[in-house]
């Protein structure tokens, strides 16, 4: 009744015929989960891969009775990689689409802006990709969780890898926002601890996220006396970067090259043989690294459905839906605060092993994977990873005190 009034008013005011339908959820309705990913622009493949992972999980869950006897339905919004857009989109998902829970976020910048608003909407959020340590650190709150590796964990592992090389002079090339700057900061601090004689060069390189031309930065690093370079460029940018670096002979130089998210299969698939051999590549999940039943089933189903191996983003998104299934069934309800509470300290079997959301900061104890790019995979059309190292998620994580999170 009330809703009809305002709709009439709006129709009159704007003289438009179509109206979005605001929904009210009833017990027999499906459980709705809102997905917030980058669905347009140079990083749109990440949103796409996440959607593929989620679709797989939703199909499996709905095929075996759903959650609490209810079917699961996804509603997506494009975050455009902008915090202001994502916050509005989250409000729309919660108040207009009536979602019970949220998953997503690719960009650290978006995560920093959006996470502080989660207690207002009273819905749990599981971050499946964005890696800034802040959201499970000084910005942490009872509604925000992360199922993927964060920058602090991955850079601790990176420092361990870097300390094993002979390189002393280190610099970085990273996107000019939270992720690029924090990657360098954490990497530098950990490496200095492990190997006090390293030299962290003051000349660093932060191209704009979405920059088309990386050659000035490539040239600058090649002209410097850097012996090691940490590269946190990601997504479509990384594809462009590697193509341009190839033409400049960047990889022929005697230098340790470490890509902090280089083994994302989105990037490897796009590059094929253009990804050079012998560089250090990291990922939050490598599909061939885990020997367990959940991973076998996930990788097989993913390859069958989409023809490419799953990326870490697909895996994180897939696992997040299962985390909600377990939390909602534990809580016996889909009420936001109860589900958020059930997630704290909860463990689940995910493709990358047993995943636990730490009580103190809500960060999942998941393992960064580092390897060296090897020969092409005979079937999957991407580089393989050799010398694969799986770092213990708990050992590379900051202590609760270090995170600055108070829950």
């Amino acid at each position: 009744m009330k809703k009809t009034n305002i709709k009439n008013l709006l129709v009159a005011m704007t003289a438009t015929a179509t109206l979005g339908t605001a929904s009210v959820s009833y017990a027999e309705d499906p459980i709705r989960i809102g997905g917030l990913y980058i669905l347009s622009g140079s990083a749109a493949t990440y949103g796409e891969f996440a959607q593929k992972g989620i679709d797989l999980a939703v199909d499996e869950i709905n095929g075996s009775g759903g959650i609490l006897g209810r079917q699961v339905e996804m509603v997506y919004e494009d975050s455009q990689g902008k915090a202001s857009v994502a916050i509005q989109a989250a409000r729309k998902l919660v108040y207009s689409e009536g979602v019970d829970a949220l998953v997503g976020l690719d960009s650290s910048g978006v995560a920093q802006g959006m996470v502080p608003t989660m207690p207002e909407v009273q819905k749990p959020l599981i971050i499946t990709h964005a890696a800034t340590p802040d959201v499970t650190g000084n910005l942490c709150n009872p509604f925000t969780y992360r199922i993927s590796v964060n920058v602090a964990q991955n850079m601790k592992a990176a420092a361990l890898v870097a300390a094993d090389t002979g390189a002393t002079n280190w610099t970085t090339i990273g996107p000019d926002y939270a992720f690029g700057h924090q990657s360098w900061e954490f990497f530098g601090n950990y490496l200095k601890e492990l190997k006090p004689d390293v030299n962290l060069m003051s000349e660093t390189n932060f191209p704009r996220f979405g920059a088309e031309d990386f050659t000035p930065f490539i040239d600058r690093v090649m002209d410097s006396d850097a012996e090691g370079v940490l590269i946190s460029v990601w997504g479509g940018d990384l594809v462009n970067f590697i193509r341009q670096a190839n033409t400049r002979g960047f990889f022929e130089k005697d230098m340790e090259v470490m890509f902090t998210v280089g083994a994302a299969t989105e990037v490897l698939s796009a590059l094929g043989e253009e990804m050079p051999e012998g560089v250090h590549l990291s990922t939050r999940y490598w599909y061939e690294a885990y020997d367990n039943a959940v991973n076998d089933r996930f990788v097989k189903a993913y390859l069958k459905a989409y023809g490419t191996p799953p990326s870490y983003n697909a895996e994180g998104a897939y696992a997040a839906i299962y985390a909600y299934k377990k939390a909602m069934e534990t809580a016996g309800t889909t009420e936001g605060p109860a589900v958020a509470k059930a997630l704290s300290g909860m463990s689940l079997e995910a493709p990358n092993g047993t995943v636990t959301f730490r009580e103190g900061d809500h960060q999942a104890m998941v393992s960064p994977n580092w390897g060296v790019s090897g020969p092409m995979h005979p079937e999957h059309g991407i580089r393989t990873l050799t010398n694969l190292q799986i770092f213990d998620g708990e050992k590379v994580a900051r202590t609760i005190e270090e995170t600055g999170c108070k829950l």
Partner: protein, 315 residues
Amino acid sequence: MKTKVLMAILAVVIAGLIAVPWIASYFYVFIFTEILILGLFAASFNLIFGYTGMLSFGHAAFFGIGSYATALVLIHLEWPFLACLLVSMGASALLALVIGFLSVRLNEVYFAMLTLAFGMMVFAIAYQWRSVTNGSDGLAGFTLGSFGLGLDLTLANPSVYYHVVLAIVAIASVVLYVICRSSFGMILKAIRQNPERVSFAGLNVRTYRLVAFVIAGTFAGLAGGLIAPFLRVASPELLHWSMSAEPILMAILGGTGFFLGPFIGSAAFVLLETWITTYTESWMLVLGIILAMMVIFFRKGLLGTAIDWWMEVKK
């Protein structure tokens, strides 16, 4: 008679706006907050565009500065909200004085290009001055304290914030309206129609244009100060030239010849965006088609066309 009917319609609309949190679904509290803030932004722009005939492509500079000023004051000084808004208005007035002083001497496309260039300079500063503006990520994570004046308002409650925005936008609109209807406003209109004649009448056109530019910038700054706590972030996108295009689109969509046109344009813009993005990601395409139709067939905008139609029917 007609004025009475128009006043009655306006009264009903205002009553409806006050009642939004009780009669509409909760989500529309956010939608209408955005409509009001962007409406004020577009109305401030229309003072120089619709009234004075200056097409600025850099109006987002003042909107963005206002948002950063409020965010910075909230983060570092934790002043009451009203004080933040005053700082926003002061900062944008100052910036408008500098940019305006250098820009209003030029006309038409040169003025448009110059304001675009200055707007992008401000954007570049916000984007690169990481230690103060937090670079491309923008400023986030600030908390809203008290309102000021000893009023006990929970600004973090979206319904309360909506009513605060409604009250401030209403007061600001009345002030803007009085300016538009004053002799000063009349001279601005005359400048749009024939600047030579105005200067032959002994008036300094450049000074009038500069004052209009500063007033418009100040109110855009106020709108910016209101948007930062609403979005919970002050980011460089708010300063980008594409943000400068929004008040232009809204003013044209609603009707540049009427004071309330930009508000109608803002409502149409935000509501269409909300509804269309539910069905497709390519809402800009739909907006483009609508705008092209408006410019070709309904030059007076939604409000102008509606009033014309009503005048015709009620003759």
